[in-house]
């Protein structure tokens, strides 16, 4: 059975420490984000930790939510690309082919999670950092869209090793850089189609799961687990879309097993 790579992100465990962001930057040769880049809103972060406030002052709480690419099953970014640079792999990954991309940026326009990034400039590293670039990941030139790939180089490597050893990929053979770096194991990566994997078990058993913007019907592969709040805010002051009441839908929409 084909893999369907997925991720669960437990917001109850997330401390907003940004270790995943740093790990991702290092793993995937992401250009250095300067302050200017951030201010111009051109920073590239394949996974980013968004902080938002819930409730009205003074009853206000800070929340964190790490946002990688959702790897939608019906990704809106795919049919709009004129050159198939944004496409669906047979493993259910929503994938970006850099060398095919011409930079129309339509995919970013039609991505509602804002996880597709454009290289506005040619990426540059100081000489001292050039040796730390990951040789397994292509460095993207300017004018190209890029986004989280669920560390496809690791997936490919794991699959190839398994194939050379004559077996299937096991849960835990590998994980993405963000999941690997997460100190609280809030991010868990695995195969949703493998009923024995940790993510599949979590998705099947949780009562806290929800997907971001699930109402668009794209069926994201990233499932968030709602924060367990000891001292919850009154219902009406909650953010309508982040603290989703749609968690029951997850079981219908995420194919398990």
């Amino acid at each position: 059975m084909a893999h369907r790579w997925g991720m669960t992100i437990d917001l109850d465990l997330c401390t907003g420490c940004q270790a995943c962001v740093v790990a991702c930057q290092a793993e995937n040769n992401i250009p250095i984000n300067t302050e200017e880049n951030f201010q111009q809103r051109r920073a590239i972060e394949w996974i980013r930790v968004e902080r938002y406030w819930e409730g009205e002052f003074p009853n206000v709480k800070a929340r964190y939510i790490p946002v990688p690419c959702m790897m939608c099953e019906n990704a809106p970014c795919e049919p709009v690309c004129p050159v198939y640079a944004s496409y669906h792999t047979d493993q259910g990954l929503n994938f970006q082919v850099y060398n095919r991309c011409i930079g129309t940026r339509y995919c970013s326009v039609n991505c509602h999670w804002h996880v597709r990034f454009f290289n506005f400039w040619e990426p540059k590293w100081p000489d001292s950092l050039k040796q730390q670039l990951n040789p397994l990941v292509a460095v993207r030139s300017r004018g190209v869209m890029e986004k989280c790939s669920f560390c496809i180089q690791r997936i490919d490597h794991a699959e190839q090793s398994a194939q050379l050893q004559g077996r299937d990929v096991k849960d835990g053979d590998f994980t993405t850089a963000c999941a690997q770096a997460c100190p609280t194991r809030a991010i868990v990566f695995g195969d949703l189609n493998n009923a024995d994997s940790e993510v599949a078990k979590t998705v099947a058993s949780t009562k806290r799961g929800y997907q971001l913007l699930a109402d668009l019907g794209t069926n994201p592969a990233v499932v968030y687990l709602k924060k367990i709040d000891a001292d919850p805010l009154p219902e009406d002051s909650k953010h309508k879309y982040f603290d989703s009441s749609q968690y029951t839908r997850v079981k219908e929409t995420v194919a398990v097993g």
């Binding site: 019906n74 109402d215 668009l216 019907g217």
Partner: protein
């Protein structure tokens, strides 16, 4: 075949409308003749229509008593009747406005045929008043009224009744000169009560100017009112009753398909007038050719608008959008949609594309009859999907609502309403000459044959008023 410098070849003037060569006296005699003499078939068909109308009214009363006002789905086919009449009968007068606005000469015999349908506007107005109680108030449902006072009832009523009133006013004003002719010419006491209304019209220059202006402005106002009314009906009677159906093109589609129905009504009426109404000298190839061109254009627009209504949710792929197109196009009303699409778009396109058919008299008639049937299917598709049982306060469609197929009672209501309209128009033809005498007279004056180099061509005057 000869050419005029510039390359456009001018065909021999075809035997278009013989009435262009009539003298004014002939035109008047002819018009009054048609006003007086109505044959046996006229009486028989009027009686049949009256019976159908009465049956329809009885069916409506039975329906109302049996099901009451509470359940919207029982009124689905009353709504269909209303929507169908609004998009055919009520649209017919717009045809004459289009002709007048572009100062097209072919319009002259057609004008009255299209205006006379305004006589039936009382039928949709009554149906609307019945239906108003089935439409929920704006609370908790999508609406374009944004909390206006007494919305939607008051404003819908103003629009529909205002449209009916404008229609009657347009018909009356544009027939004043003819009524005045009838008043002056009929001396044997058979002049009807309406002619007496034209007492004060003597054809002075200022009176003509007033009439011309009034016809032009009332006509333009009628079209604007019509589009407004159709927009509001589309919003309040259809879109807001299907949760999550938010297609901004839909009101425009509703109006455009209505125009198609209006042209079809005019073509069919003109064909009947030509065959049995004694107007064959007036309605030549020229008229059918022009009307068929409009019918073709509106058929293309029908497809274009329905395509845009369809393709956006198709690309959106959100769950409720998928349900919406399944409801309207695929699952529930597939065959109604197919019928509408085939008859309102494919048949006009495939048949009227050929100049031969367009220029003939049979082609446009067949296509237009098809359009009228197709529109009925389309209105069933729209109104019954809107009036079927579901919770309209939901923000989105979560499941396909049940299908409302018509029962015997439903058909009787629909047929009765249509019969009432036709009967009213036939009665109106007793009172008002069809085609219009004064417009034809004007037309004969503004036309001439002239030699141009070595061919004879038709010259048309375009007064610059």
């Amino acid at each position: 075949m000869a050419t005029v410098t510039g390359g456009h070849h001018v065909p021999e003037p075809s035997p278009v409308t013989r009435a262009w060569d009539y003298t004014p006296g002939q035109l008047v005699r002819d018009g009054l003749q048609r006003l007086r003499a109505k044959g046996q078939w006229y009486r028989i068909s009027l009686i049949i229509l009256a019976i159908l109308t009465v049956i329809g009214i009885i069916a409506l009363i039975v329906q109302a008593i049996a099901s009451g006002w509470g359940d919207r789905e029982n009124w689905g086919y009353v709504a269909v009747a209303f929507g169908y009449i609004m998009s055919t009968v009520a649209a017919a007068p717009c045809v004459c406005v289009a002709g007048r606005l572009t100062r097209a000469h072919w319009r002259r015999p057609i004008d009255r045929i299209s205006e006379i349908w305004a006589a039936a506007m009382i039928v949709p107005a009554i149906l609307f008043l019945l239906l108003m109680w089935t439409v929920p108030n704006t609370h908790g449902r999508p609406t374009i009224w944004f909390g206006w006072w007494a919305a939607p009832y008051l404003w819908d009523a103003i629009l529909v009744l205002g449209l009916a009133f404008t229609g009657y006013a347009l018909l009356y004003v544009s027939s004043i000169p003819d009524l005045a002719i009838a008043r002056a010419q009929i001396e044997d006491g058979s002049a009807n009560w309406l002619t007496r209304k034209a007492e004060g019209f003597f054809g002075t220059q200022s009176q003509w100017r007033v009439i011309e202006r009034a016809v032009a402005y009332l006509g333009a106002f009628y079209v604007v009112m019509y589009i407004g009314t159709m927009t509001v009906i589309a919003a309040d009677f259809i879109m807001s009753l299907i949760p999550g159906y938010k297609s901004a093109i839909f009101p425009a589609y509703f109006a455009i398909s209505g125009f198609g129905g209006g042209v079809a009504v005019v073509v069919v009426t003109a064909s009947i007038m030509r065959l049995w109404g004694g107007a064959e000298d007036y309605l030549g190839r020229e008229q059918f050719f022009a009307l068929a061109k409009i019918q073709l254009a509106l058929g293309l627009l029908f497809a274009y608008f329905i395509w845009t209504d369809f393709v956006i949710p198709w690309y959106g792929r959100m769950p409720w959008e998928i349900l919406q197109i399944r409801l309207l196009y695929f699952d529930s009303y597939l065959w109604y949609f197919v019928a509408a699409f085939a008859l309102c778009f494919i048949s006009p396109l495939v048949l009227l594309m050929w100049t031969k058919l367009r220029r003939g008299r049979v082609g446009p008639f067949i296509v237009s009859s098809g359009v009228l049937i197709g529109l009925l299917a389309d209105r069933i598709r729209l109104f019954s999907s809107a009036f079927s049982d579901k919770d309209i306060t939901e923000d989105r469609l979560h499941a396909l609502p049940p299908v409302l197929h018509p029962g015997v009672l439903d058909w009787l209501i629909v047929i009765g309403a249509i019969a009432a309209c036709i009967a009213l128009v036939m009665l109106a033809m007793r009172l008002i000459p069809v085609p219009s005498i004064w417009e034809m007279t004007e037309g004969t004056r503004l036309r001439a044959r002239r030699r141009f180099h070595n061919v004879e061509v038709t010259i048309i005057g375009k007064p610059d008023y």
